[in-house]
Each structure stands twice: as C-alpha cells, then as structure tokens.
C-alpha cells in the first residue's frame, strides 16, 4: 500500500506545531498502524530527520498508552486502540490525517504525545477504599450479585486512554470518570467512600479544565472498550445523592 500521511509535528510543549505531509510506500495491510509509523520513522532516521514521537507500550490493546486522532476519529475507524488498528482498514492511496488528542487538560509534550496526567490526578482525588489488606478474607464472606459484578467489570475495562475526551465536542472527561465511579460504586468494597469519592473526582475533573458533558455520545462511540453512556448517568446520580441526600 502507498499512503499519504499528514502528521502533526511539534518540537516541544511550547513550540508552534504544524501539519507535515509524508509519503510511505510498500506498507503491508497486515501491519498495525503503529508499525506503519515505525516504518516511517526508520525512513526519517535514515534521512537524518527527527523521528515522529508517539506513545505506545503494550501494543496489545490493553494498556491505554497509545492514542491518536486518525482522520478525525479517535483510534481510527475501528472499535479498538490505535495499536490494534491494522492497515487493512485503509485503502491504497488513502490520505490519512494524524493528530494528537486535543484538550487543554491534555497538553502536547511533543508531536503526537500528550500528557494525560490529569487522569491520574482525578484517580488520586478519588482516594482510597477501606479494605482489609491483611489476611485475604474468605471469598464468600462478601457476596456480590452477578449483575453488579458484571457491570463493575464492564466499567473496569476502561484503560484510561483518553479517547472519550479526544472525541468529545466539549473535551469532557465524564465517560472516563463515570467508568471509575461505576466500577467501584457497584462493589461492596467501594461503598464506604462512595459519596466523598464522586465529589472529589468531579472537583478535580473541573479543576483540570475538562469541559462539561452535554450527552452527545461521541465518547462512547470512540471508546475502544465500548463503555456505554449509562456510566455518566451513574456518575450524575451518585453526585446528586452525595450533594443532596447524604450531603454535608
């Protein structure tokens, strides 16, 4: 396959960036999108140019490190992460635009690499859960109904990649936060700090400069783990309960 790539180049956090056009040829349809970028970087290296910086770690679709805006879609056209996107999803001769996640809460560090530290700070704001860390308790001593276990597991599939923020017209982090709230909120272990957790996380989310949710649904459509919008409903519900019924 021969492709034309338009890629965002930005030397450092404070430098001005621009779109630069590259041509790659003889790309195998079985390559992943990141392997295609590796090939391009090898060519750039050989020519003595600065290679394109992009994030990646596991390349198995489970760590959430890679994340690129590919022709206007977070993680590209398939429901998966960028590393699990293969070139067979494109056609020979395509022109592909590659940009970093765009959100002021995710500042660009270099080229396609952004700092998703805001997500870590939201998690940290959520705080601890009260759990006995001594001897492992008997597994049957804390019953968890199957539907709750399933829903918690569904929400726990969030890998924090940031595609929801990248796709959201408001650059809101509500789907990510909703997944975390639902994940702990469905389980008995998450109950003691349930109210405090949702209030602190939302405060941190707003302080990081993410936008508000207007329930458009772009986040869920972009999510490589297919996390549904109802985790946002759960987040709002928990927040309302924390602020009104149990509020201080």
């Amino acid at each position: 396959m021969n492709l034309t790539l338009k890629i965002w180049r930005q030397a450092s956090a404070n430098a001005r960036g621009e779109m630069v056009t590259y041509k790659v040829s003889d790309i195998s349809p079985d390559m992943s999108f990141l392997e295609m970028l590796d090939v391009l970087n090898e060519q750039l290296n050989a020519r003595g140019e600065e290679p394109i910086a992009f994030d990646s770690d596991c390349r198995e679709g489970i760590c959430g490190m890679c994340g690129l805006m590919i022709s206007g879609k977070a993680h590209g056209p398939e429901v998966t992460t960028t590393c699990q996107l293969h070139m067979r999803s494109f056609s020979d001769g395509d022109e592909i635009t590659v940009e970093p996640w765009r959100a002021d809460a995710f500042p660009v560090i270099k080229d396609l690499v952004v700092d998703r530290g805001a997500f870590d700070r939201i998690i940290a704001a959520g705080g601890f859960i009260s759990a006995n860390t001594g001897a492992a308790p008997e597994a049957h001593s804390v019953p968890v109904p199957k539907p709750k276990a399933d829903r918690a597991f569904m929400a726990a599939a969030c890998i924090g990649c940031g595609a929801c923020v990248a796709a959201c017209p408001n650059a809101s982090g509500m789907l990510f936060m909703g997944a975390k709230i639902t994940h702990l909120g469905e389980l008995p272990q998450g109950q003691p700090e349930r109210d405090a957790r949702v209030v602190s996380m939302v405060e941190q989310h707003d302080a990081e400069g993410f936008g508000g949710c207007t329930n458009i649904g772009e986040c869920s459509a972009a999510c490589p783990k297919e996390i549904p919008m109802d985790v946002i409903n759960q987040l709002n519900r928990d927040l309302r309960h924390a602020l009104t019924r149990h509020g201080d």
Binding site: N170, S172, G212, R240
Partner: protein, 217 residues
C-alpha cells in the same frame, strides 16, 4: 451547574405544554380564547389580586430563564476553554444536529422569545390589517393571517422541537434517571414525544389561521 440547567429546563417543559394547551383554545373560537386569557388573570382572585397569579408565574419563569441561560453560557465558555487548539480533521460518529445545535438553537429560541413577547404581551403591535381593540383572540387571528409571521413561528418551533428532543433526554441523564437500558429507552421516547407534541401542538393554531380554517368571527 448542570443540575441547575436540567431543573430549569424541566420547568420550561411543563410551561410550554400548558401554554400549548391554552393556545389550542383558539379552535374553540375567539370568545373561548379571550375567556382563557382573562381567566389567567383572575385565577385565585379571592386570595390574590387581579393578575396576581400571572405575575407570580412570570417571576418564576424569569428566574428559570436566567438560571437556564446563565448555566448554558457558563458551560459553553468552559467547553470552549477545554479545547483551544482545534482538530484539523474531526469526524462525528454519533453527534446529530439536535445534539450539537443545543447552544445556537437555544440562542435562536431566546431571540424568538423576545419577538414573541413584544408581539403578544408587551407592545401588542398588530402586523395584520384590521384594528383589534382589546381582544387577545382577535390579535392572534389577525397576526397569523400574515405569512411571514407564521414562517417565523414555524422556524422557532423546529428549533424548540430539536432543543426539547435532545434536552429532555439529556436532563434525565444529568439527573441520573436513565440508569438502565430500559430507562434510557423510555427517556429517549419521552423526549421525542414531548418534542413532537409541543412543536405540532403549537404549530396547529397559526397554520389553521393562515389557511383560513379558523376565521375568528
């Protein structure tokens, strides 16, 4: 802030439904409509002075309007600040006109509201031809015999319908009432029904007057 938006929006949903029901009175004739307009002012009169209930009602509406618009502009500016560098290419996967036009649609409805109040409440100017006097029913009839007045109203109703369609569903989500798949389906259906009933219900009287089905005498 979003709770404020949802609650103030919900107040308007009840208001537009009541307002629409009142408007349909024009089909019962000018006299019935005038009686309805008068009744709004004499409601609860032994307890409240003439027009008292109406003024209380108006104050609540103004407070809700200020709350709704204030929270809208606050959230709008926060969303703008959340992405100051825009994408070169961005494709919508699920966004629709009704969900992305909430803000500009809201501004359009606000502008229409100013026009609507000037026309029928504050100035009561008559764009039609015959002199009306004090009958609200006759003012309505002569106004909607003018085609461009009807056009303005129809456009505003399209905007209102789309605003309600997304807004009602969005409010249930913000209030945390759409937790399960079934609840979500119900909320979306309710939003569609409310939006449809409201826009069509409001559109019937002007159209009937324009096409001469309701003549006024």
């Amino acid at each position: 802030m979003k709770l404020l938006m949802a609650v103030s929006g919900a107040l308007f949903v009840f208001y537009v439904l009541a307002h629409m029901y009142g408007n349909l009175k024009i089909f019962a004739g000018v006299e019935a409509f005038d009686e309805y307009a008068h009744h709004l002012r004499t409601m609860f009169t032994p307890i409240l002075p003439f027009g008292g209930f109406l003024w209380l009602f108006r104050i609540v509406l103004v407070v809700a309007l200020v709350a709704h618009a204030y929270s809208a502009f606050y959230l709008w500016s926060r969303a703008r600040g959340a992405r100051t560098t825009r994408y070169v290419a961005k494709e919508a996967a699920r966004a629709t006109v009704k969900s992305t036009a909430m803000r500009w649609g809201g501004v359009a409805i606000l502008l229409f509201l100013v026009w609507h109040l000037l026309q029928f409440t504050i100035v009561k100017f008559n764009v039609g031809d015959d002199v009306v006097g004090t009958s609200p029913g006759k003012l309505v009839i002569s106004s909607f015999q003018v085609w461009w007045v009807v056009l303005i109203y129809i456009l505003a109703l399209v905007a209102l319908g789309m605003h309600l369609w997304h807004g009602v569903w969005s409010a249930t989500q913000t209030l945390g009432w759409a937790g399960s798949a079934r609840a979500r389906k119900r909320a979306k259906l309710a939003a569609l029904v409310i939006a449809f009933v409201t826009s069509v219900g409001f559109a019937l009287p002007p159209l009937a007057i324009l096409f001469g089905i309701v003549k006024g005498n």
